[in-house]
């Protein structure tokens, strides 16, 4: 089991092409922890903005009467991938991991696999 800080470090060091990562509470839109980022990628802004993305998708699933949970959400930009992964553990209810990747350096399948592993081990 890993705590938030360790998990974020693990994401940045073990996932190729990682630009920044945040653990976000989508009830409040605030980040519980962030690592990486840059002048162009403010992770607190990303946390607030992507909270709206997660909330909208949860609402869409409700409207469609699907008894399903989100495993992950992938957003492809011209030069980046953004990966959102809600936490599944009991301690992670209402939280998601947000990961920004550089498309030219990242391996998407490997990144998803690694993020799944890190999420499963994360204890908040």
């Amino acid at each position: 089991m890993a705590n938030t800080e360790t998990a974020l470090k693990d994401v940045m060091s073990s996932i190729d092409g990682a630009i920044g990562v945040a653990l976000v509470d989508y009830n409040s839109g605030m980040a519980l922890g962030t690592l990486g980022g840059s002048a162009e990628l403010d992770l607190n802004v990303a946390a607030a903005g992507n909270t709206d993305v997660v909330r909208a998708k949860v609402r869409a699933i409700e409207l469609l009467n699907l008894k399903e949970a989100i495993e992950d959400i992938l957003i492809s930009l011209n030069t980046q991938y953004h990966l959102i992964r809600p936490l599944t553990g009991r301690s992670g209810k209402g939280l998601f991991l947000y990961l920004a990747l550089d498309r030219s350096r990242a391996n998407l399948a490997m990144a998803r696999h690694q993020l799944k592993r890190i999420e499963a081990e994360l204890e908040v």
Binding site: V24, G29, N44, A48, D52
Partner: protein
């Protein structure tokens, strides 16, 4: 001209600020813009640190009462921040059972107070309110600078 909010922790502003002088179409545009950009926002208000309403976009609420309470909370918040070595007042967030009240410094003698429902995205609220606060500060500081010159 850079005046800081530290001034209202002890000292009064150099001049009594007339809220009508500060109120302009620019301020109301800011407030309606906030309502459009922040989901679950239920009201917004710009007040002087003396507790006088400058502009508001609220419904079913007495803005003058909220402005007066804001001024009182602000005084305590600013003293608390200073007493604990955290410097100038920046913002104040209160969470009630049914929603949030947030107050942000907007320049020297003006504050922005926002009311939001329990489902509000606070990250988003902070982001938009801080930006609006900077723009309101520019507007009000320009008016006060003009008043100082006259």
């Amino acid at each position: 001209m850079k005046r800081t909010l530290r001034q209202f922790t002890g000292r009064r502003p150099p001049v009594l600020i007339d809220p009508e002088l500060l109120a302009g179409p620019g301020l109301l545009d800011e407030l309606s813009g906030l309502r459009a950009r922040v989901p679950h926002l239920t009201g917004s208000l710009v007040a002087t640190t003396d507790g006088l309403v400058v502009a508001h976009d609220t419904r079913g609420l007495e803005p003058s009462g909220v402005a007066a309470l804001t001024a009182a909370a602000l005084g305590v918040g600013a003293r608390l921040a200073e007493a604990t070595g955290q410097g100038e007042f920046r913002e104040l967030l209160t969470r009630g059972e049914l929603g949030y009240t947030a107050t942000y410094a907007a320049g020297s003698f003006v504050v922005l107070t926002l009311l939001a429902g329990p489902d509000a995205n606070i990250g988003r609220l902070h982001l938009e309110a801080r930006r609006a606060g900077r723009r309101i500060a520019e507007l009000s500081d320009a008016v006060l600078a003009r008043q100082d010159r006259d």
